[in-house]
């Protein structure tokens, strides 16, 4: 396809191959390390669930005991496999024994790593089978009841109570929503465990728990069958429990997950070593089960200027793309993020936004781009807000975005009310229908504002990527080049949960998932 923006393919290739080298150099670091959350994820996939008497999740109980005994570098898969050999019990039973204080998993006789891996393999294959069944179920739904047209209408629910969320989510689906994201309660991203069971209290959102996932999945399947459209469920594979939540999402058939290699570092002050190791396993899981991941570049524009920092968004998209390639994530699963966040007072701001949105689509043609609505310059004037959202919707249909997080006219006032969501869906449906083919009809003036903007942003992104390659990703983040946020390499939360693997370490899921284990 000919570039409407007259982008130079050589510059795109240069930026992409530079990002690939950056990701590969990080991968060497990632492959040498594991984290407490990565290990807990293995346990969850092996079927360890539930809580002890003080409500500590069993995956935490097991990993903490192994860590305290100095056994983390060997990995829980070994310890579990060995304990299965020595006790004849299942991973869940072993975890329960450990929680009751009846078993010290590191003090058992030791089998070889090979024996432990062989012992654990049937349970591993069983977990993969469960995940594949969920993926097949999604495919079955897509073949039978189908799905909405792109851009998918993507809305959030955030009541704090999963049962109230169900009412709102089903209402939104009936109004036309294609994707429902259950916003997480404030600060869950900083918990170093995943809460358990159904929950009815949260601030600005609802806890991500496996039971809540299950409740919402069931509700969306029901309403999907009713409206004749598969309704996708979205949650957050981010924060301190990034891969654990990816595993829960795989098991409970989530369809979209927010998952970014850099977001937690920049915006939640999670340690960069921890996040980079965590994001790898989470992406391997996401890649395996056909979940679309959403990266969080849009957030850079809430802390940095959307006009001046546009190239940092593109540079980060390239990096997120290449991290995903290493985790065997298909292009269609890449929901690379960007946003409509320019100051509405900028003359020709619409032209720049349009240029950048088309640029993203041209550079990542097979990705399912996630486009985020205006938030920073929403003022409480709901009437103007509705127009800002309309311009945003026009650009989305024009530039062929895939996942359209709908703007709310009441942004900056409160979490959406039922009718706010309706008004935003109506806004998007009107514009998408009314301007459906505008993208294929309109071309741009050679050397005009729109073409030159995109060429400039691409060139700047390419430059920035070369600087990052030169200096290394860690040090680039330390200098505050993304989102204007500076983070030290050994700072932030969760570094104590990172350790170097020993020679006998194995994570049975990664090779099988990367190989697409049938």
């Amino acid at each position: 396809m000919k570039s409407k923006l007259n982008l130079d393919p050589k510059v795109i290739d240069s930026a992409r191959s530079c990002a690939a080298r950056i990701a590969e150099s990080m991968q060497e670091f990632i492959d040498r390390h594991t984290t407490v959350s990565t290990e807990r994820t293995i346990l969850r996939l092996l079927g360890v669930d539930g809580i002890d008497e003080v409500e500590t999740p069993l995956p935490n109980v097991v990993v903490d005991q192994i860590k305290d005994a100095g056994g983390l570098p060997r990995g829980v898969a070994y310890w579990m496999g060995n304990a299965m050999i020595q006790t004849g019990k299942s991973p869940q039973e072993i975890a329960e024994e450990m929680a009751a204080g009846n078993l010290d998993i590191t003090k058992l006789p030791l089998a070889s790593a090979k024996e432990a891996e062989e012992k654990i393999m049937p349970t591993v294959l069983d977990a993969l089978k469960k995940i594949r069944q969920q993926t097949e179920k999604r495919n079955q739904y897509l073949e039978t009841i189908g799905e909405g047209r792109k851009p998918y209408l993507y809305v959030i629910v955030a009541t704090g109570n999963i049962y109230e969320d169900v009412v709102q989510a089903q209402a939104a689906a009936r109004q036309g929503a294609d994707i429902i994201a259950v916003i997480r309660t404030t600060a869950q991203s900083l918990l170093d465990y995943v809460p358990y069971g159904p929950t009815t209290e949260g601030f600005g959102g609802t806890y991500a728990t496996q039971e809540n996932f299950r409740i919402m999945r069931k509700a969306l399947d029901e309403v999907g069958e009713e409206v004749g459209r598969y309704i996708r469920l979205c949650n957050y594979s981010s924060g301190m429990c990034m891969p654990e939540i990816a595993a829960m999402g795989a098991l409970e058939r989530l369809d979209v997950m927010l998952n970014d290699a850099l977001y937690g570092i920049l915006f939640r002050d999670i340690n960069m070593q921890r996040t980079l190791v965590d994001q790898y396993f989470s992406r391997v899981i996401i890649g395996y089960c056909d979940i679309i991941f959403n990266s969080g570049e849009d957030n850079y524009l809430t802390t940095d200027d959307a006009y001046e920092a546009a190239h940092t968004v593109l540079a980060s998209q390239f990096i997120n793309e290449q991290f995903a390639v290493l985790a065997n994530v298909k292009e269609e699963q890449m929901g690379l993020g960007h946003a409509f966040e320019m100051d509405p007072d900028i003359e020709n701001g619409f032209l720049y936004e349009l240029s950048q949105a088309i640029m993203a689509k041209e550079i990542f043609p097979n990705a399912n781009l996630k486009y985020m609505p205006p938030t920073k310059f929403m003022t409480g004037n709901i009437f103007k807000g509705q127009i800002q959202d309309a311009l945003f919707n026009l650009i989305a249909v024009w530039s062929g975005q895939s996942l359209q997080l709908l703007g709310m006219l009441t942004e900056a006032i409160h979490t959406p009310h039922m009718h706010d969501r309706y008004l935003s869906i109506e806004n998007a449906q009107y514009i998408f229908n009314n301007a459906r083919d505008i993208g294929s009809e309109v071309e741009f003036k050679e050397g005009g504002i729109i073409q030159e903007r995109a060429q400039f942003v691409l060139a700047e992104a390419d430059k920035l990527l070369h600087v990052i390659e030169e200096e290394g990703l860690f040090s680039t983040i330390e200098q505050g080049k993304f989102g204007g946020v500076k983070r030290p390499r050994d700072g932030g939360k969760g570094l104590e949960g990172v350790c170097v693997k020993d020679d006998e370490y194995f994570n049975p899921f990664i090779p099988l998932m990367l190989g697409g284990a049938k």
Partner: protein
């Protein structure tokens, strides 16, 4: 030919009503959802409710089924109530606003040392938009943030900072002022958190030694004062407002 009646009624500020296109028409527009099925009974329910809210001649101009058992309404009506504008008293931050350069000059002339300001979005609040708008170099909407002010050392600790950590930092750098940003207000979480901050400062014996300011879209000066803050800033506040207040306060309190 009849005389054209050109007299326009004068506003009586002791009895103010909403204005649509004629003085004292009382026109108000409302939009809300009721948990009732879509239909004539639902519209009637919306009208009755509007009457109870004090609206004469309520008119349901639009209604729409949201989902089973929920209906959205747009309603117009004429407000019966009036307000005496002449007796209203609002507590506001009373300070002459200086721009960035004037602030720098004011520091040189009156304070003659570096002013230290620490700020954060505290508690569980993950939003940096407010504190960034006031503190970051770039500021917001063309108004540079405190980091760009000559004579001010502005330390922005970001979001989800526990009150204890913010206070610790303030002690460490001997801060003149602490800025607390609160964006999330669901279930009044900000009130509890803001109150906790004051209690901690008092317990440390620091409350009188710093200028304590809070800000956020749902914060008013009145609320801030009730909670024990020196000032509160709501929407449409920029760095120069906060800086002018803090600098003036430093001089007034002889913290120079």
């Amino acid at each position: 030919m009849t005389a054209c009646n050109t007299a326009i009624a004068q506003v009586d500020l002791t009895k103010v009503k909403p204005y649509g296109d004629t003085l004292n028409d009382g026109m108000v527009e409302l939009a809300f959802t009721l948990p009732v099925p879509y239909g004539e009974e639902g519209s009637e329910a919306a009208k009755i409710l509007a009457k109870k809210m004090g609206l004469d001649e309520p008119n349901v101009v639009y209604s729409k089924n949201m989902t089973d058992g929920y209906t959205f309404f747009v309603v117009y009506g004429k407000c019966q109530h009036t307000v005496d504008y002449t007796t209203i008293k609002v507590t506001k931050v009373e300070v002459d606003i200086m721009d960035r350069l004037e602030c720098a000059q004011y520091i040189k002339d009156n304070i003659k040392r570096e002013v230290v300001i620490v700020g954060a979005s505290t508690g569980t609040d993950a939003h940096t938009v407010g504190i960034d708008a006031i503190m970051n170099m770039k500021g917001f909407h063309g108004h540079f943030g405190l980091e760009r002010y000559e004579g001010i050392n502005a330390i922005n600790m970001g979001s989800q900072v526990p009150n204890e950590v913010l206070i610790q930092k303030a002690k460490e750098v001997n801060a003149d002022a602490i800025l607390v940003s609160q964006t999330v207000t669901q279930k009044d979480v900000h009130i509890a958190n803001l109150t906790n901050m004051v209690e901690l400062l008092e317990a440390e014996g620091l409350r009188d030694k710093v200028i304590l300011v809070c800000g956020g879209p749902r914060i008013s000066h009145e609320l801030a004062q009730e909670l024990g803050y020196d000032a509160g800033f709501g929407s449409h506040t920029y760095a120069e407002h906060v800086a002018s207040f803090v600098l003036t306060e430093i001089v007034n309190r002889k913290m120079v």
